[in-house]
């Protein structure tokens, strides 16, 4: 059953006006430019892309922590963007977020106990702080600590406990492990996987690292410059990537076996400014595809099914690279 249904989500940041706000506005920044996907209940969608691709904005806009420019977000049939304040607050209990930076995601003036007690108070729940800490693998003694007395991994666990406190169905994990040490990354990923199994959670797992997503995601969506360029079941996308950008990302995943050599695709240049996206295919200036043609420069490729359940936005997705 579909729990989360995002349709044609758009988030533009208005351009700055010069001359003390009287001049013509600069071009808007198209952080998210028409993104659609669904997540089935109890499943995980991995949302992958490099810095500036708009993946964090997708996550925050879905929870209406930022107002969308247009589009729709259906959560269990509720139109999240159309809700008034009271009903939105009620729905917030069911959708939570875990942040990337464990250093800024906890209030430095509040003890762990204060932080975890607050959501229980807001929604009048009768859970206990000790139970929450236990669920994320922290000792009850941590309740008295302040965030600065915890390590990165411990803070991230507190952040996860806070999200769990309101018993949500859906959690946006916004790069929850990318700020942690590699050894701690694995622990936190395992914790998230265990919690998902135990509580039947649905995740949107945002990451810039395909290797991390591989462990946890059922489906993977790849974002580039505010648009989805590929969307497929995880196994499929790793075995047979269709979009040249996905192929380049996969070629950058480290290979544990030192004897296998693989071809690295190195993309020239940087991601373009989302205020001035290139015409046609947004990826064309950096695309290494041998078939790249004039068509790529003028005609934006739609996200279309290549094989059943596997979509890609490339005119030459069927061609080998």
């Amino acid at each position: 059953m579909t729990l989360v249904d995002v349709r044609d989500l758009v988030k533009h940041y208005a351009g700055e006006r010069r001359w003390f706000g009287l001049g013509r506005p600069q071009a808007p920044v198209r952080a998210v430019d028409g993104v659609s996907f669904t997540i089935a209940s109890g499943r995980t969608l991995g949302l992958v892309g490099e810095s500036g691709s708009g993946k964090t904005t997708v996550g925050r806009t879905m929870l209406r922590l930022q107002e969308p420019t247009s589009g729709k977000m259906l959560f269990d049939g509720n139109d999240v963007f159309a809700l008034d304040v009271t009903r939105l607050r009620a729905l917030r209990r069911r959708m939570q977020i875990v942040f990337q930076d464990p250093y800024s995601s906890l209030n430095p003036r509040m003890t762990v106990d204060d932080t975890l007690r607050e959501p229980l108070e807001i929604h009048g729940l009768n859970g206990t702080v000790t139970a929450l800490l236990d669920e994320v693998g922290l000792d009850a003694a941590f309740a008295k600590r302040y965030p600065h007395e915890l390590s990165g991994g411990q803070r991230q666990r507190v952040g996860i406990a806070r999200a769990l406190s309101v018993e949500p169905q859906f959690i946006v994990c916004d790069e929850p492990v990318s700020a942690l040490d590699v050894s701690v990354q694995a622990q936190v990923l395992n914790l998230l996987a265990d919690l998902q199994a135990k509580r039947r959670l649905t995740y949107l797992f945002i990451a810039h690292d395909l290797a991390v997503v591989r462990h946890i995601a059922d489906d993977v969506a790849v974002m580039y410059l505010g648009k989805l360029v590929e969307r497929a079941p995880a196994g499929e996308i790793y075995a047979q990537p269709r979009h040249p950008y996905t192929r380049a990302l996969l070629s950058a995943v480290p290979e544990p076996n030192p004897h296998t050599t693989k071809r690295r695709i190195v993309l020239p240049g940087d991601i373009p400014s989302p205020a001035h996206p290139p015409p046609g295919c947004p990826f064309h200036p950096r695309c290494p595809h041998p078939k790249k043609s004039q068509r790529c420069r003028t005609e934006p490729p739609p996200l279309r099914p290549i094989t059943p359940g596997h979509d890609a936005a490339c005119h030459f997705a069927e061609e080998p690279m």
Binding site: D101, S104, P108, R109, P119, H123
Partner: protein, 308 residues
């Protein structure tokens, strides 16, 4: 100075030392207040302020003369400090020590209450503007621009012209209402940056209302600049009261304040510096002590300020 006043002063000093000692002792049990007493300057600041408040409250015991009485306008005018007149006499032959002691009542009262009104208002306006942004921010901040652009003395003169014979409470309100602009800008800037932080976003995601977000998550983290501006604000209010007195629209004349003592005796600053020097020193002492205490409060509120 009689034996009685010396005795009263001595008792005030002992009481102060005892209060500070007891406070310090009890503070050691709580981590938060232990941080408050970590700096020696904070303890001293607290001691000096306590002493001044006690002296102000016990003014009739500590002051040997009636502060408004002109003792002998012919022979005792501008008398230099001596054992009889500890801080000398002023141009109207009034005892400077007695006037300073009684002046502490008005000056400390106006300083504390005026700064309190100003900082509370500035914090509220700054927090609302910074948190809600958009047109609310634009309207409030343009108002602040106007407030900062108009000379404060001019606004106060208008208020006085409308009010005629400003009562003490009105003076505090008028001073408070014209002193919050700087604080509101400071707080707004802090709130603008804090509201982007993940823990504030998290609080909203958990369904916390704006009031809770502002008062529990944003403002506690903006405490440092607010406290510093409050401490500096008291000094500013004392000086503002002085300039109002100088213009003859502050506290009514015979009633002494540190501000109007300086203003009244400014002409004789070269011939009888004591009558301006001592109230001036009192103001400086209050501002310095407040800043020391403010440092302590800031540390007490910040759990990261661990004992190094």
């Amino acid at each position: 100075m009689t034996l009685g006043t010396w005795l009263a002063l001595f008792v005030a000093l002992v009481v102060t030392a005892e209060i500070v000692r007891v406070l310090r002792h009890r503070a050691m049990r709580h981590e938060r207040w232990r941080r408050f007493f970590r700096h020696r300057t904070t303890t001293w600041g607290l001691g000096i302020l306590t002493f001044l408040v006690i002296v102000a409250l016990a003014a009739p015991l500590v002051a040997p003369y009636d502060p408004d009485k002109q003792l002998d306008i012919v022979h005792l005018k501008n008398h230099p400090p001596s054992w009889t007149f500890l801080l000398g006499t002023d141009v109207l032959s009034r005892d400077v020590w007695s006037r300073t002691v009684y002046g502490a009542r008005v000056s400390l009262g106006i300083g504390a209450l005026g700064a309190l009104v100003a900082v509370a208002l500035g914090t509220l306006v700054g927090a609302v503007a910074g948190y809600y942004q958009r047109w609310i921010d634009a309207v409030l901040m343009r108002g602040v621009d106007v407030g900062l652009a108009l000379p404060r003395i001019f606004i106060l003169l208008m208020a006085v012209a409308l009010w005629d014979g400003l009562p003490f409470a009105a003076l505090i309100i008028v001073i408070g209402l014209t002193s919050w602009f700087g604080t509101s800008r400071l707080v707004r800037a802090e709130v603008l940056s804090l509201r982007q932080r993940d823990f504030v976003v998290a609080a909203r995601a958990l369904g916390a209302g704006s009031g809770r977000v502002i008062f529990r998550h944003v403002l506690p983290n903006a405490a440092a600049p607010i406290i510093v501006s409050a401490a500096l604000g008291v000094g500013n209010v004392l000086l503002l009261e002085a300039s109002l007195s100088f213009l003859g629209i502050g506290v009514k004349p015979p009633e002494p304040t540190w501000g109007n003592m300086i203003a009244d005796n400014a002409p004789s600053i070269y011939t009888a510096p004591w009558s301006t020097l001592f109230p001036g020193l009192a103001i400086s002492l209050v501002v310095l002590s407040l800043n020391a205490v403010a440092d302590g409060v800031r540390d007490a509120l910040d759990p990261r300020a661990e004992a190094a």
